[in-house]
Symmetry: C2
Subunit: 167 residues, 2 copies
């Protein structure tokens, strides 16, 4: 467990356990954009949790406040690669801070904690993508030394790319 000490608050970061799944799913849904993509059924989160937890390349963080309430999360993955002269990347996914805790500085401190986690594991860069509608978040990332050098493309699977006719 790590501590994140801010001016007048103390948070803890630890690897999430299966008991955290309801709280983590609630955090993912506590978000204007994310809420439309989450599910009230916890079963798919349990399946995903076990897959994350079984692979030491992933770290799923559960961040708690002084009262022990889950107030933030992110998922870190160490990604080796040949590009950029064999650069190792730290990928950040599913970064959320509870609406009750935004504005405390926790988000910035947690992302710095993540960068240190990556540096300890030999990562040369940290990368993440952020929905283009999250304009405030983009300013936040830029303040923390991130640069939006790339377009983030996504494609849903389950349907062919060239489906000609609507059915």
């Amino acid at each position: 467990m790590s501590a994140i000490d801010l001016a007048d608050r103390r948070f803890t970061v630890e690897q999430a356990t299966e008991d955290d799944i309801p709280g983590l799913a609630a955090l993912l849904a506590d978000d204007d954009i994310g809420s439309t993509r989450e599910s009230p059924d916890l079963a798919p989160y349990v399946v995903a949790f076990r897959e994350i937890d079984a692979d030491p390349q992933h770290y799923l963080a559960a961040v708690r406040d002084e009262a022990g309430d889950l107030v933030a999360t992110l998922q870190l993955t160490v990604l080796p690669g040949l590009a950029r002269a064999g650069a190792r990347r730290l990928q950040v996914e599913a970064f959320r801070v509870a609406s009750s805790t935004r504005g405390t500085g926790l988000g910035a401190a947690l992302l710095e904690w993540a960068a240190a986690y990556g540096a300890e594991r030999g990562a040369d860069l940290v990368q993440l993508t952020s929905d283009k509608r999250r304009v405030d978040a983009h300013r936040f990332y830029e303040r923390l030394g991130y640069t939006a050098t790339h377009e983030g493309f996504k494609r849903a699977l389950g349907q062919p790319a060239h489906s000609g006719s609507a059915q």
Copy 2:
């Protein structure tokens, strides 16, 4: 090994081996943007290759033409996650087609092959980032069903985010 059959060409896709490292490094450098970030020293690529090869969540593709020449590559990683109701992602990194082979349709066919690889492994979406200067590549991804919904942020490690003074 898989075959990619185009109108008048046949390519093969197989998992890269250590013998492919010089060819893969050359492919990464065969690119206006990538060339500035690669290294003539192969040692860091060997280290990275072994790390990729040791983890079954990664697939590093070596694509060859009829003559057996290495003409394309990409790295695929299956990423489980809690977000989007436990969506499993297929991450694409370091996608390159040799300049000699661009315009043949191989790039599109290889990316379709990658989507099928992801679908077979239960991925719900494919994601990649592309340097904002690669405008032609962006049109290519859009034709293949990808949408640039996200900003792709990167931060180099090894220096603090808030370095106040230039030195």
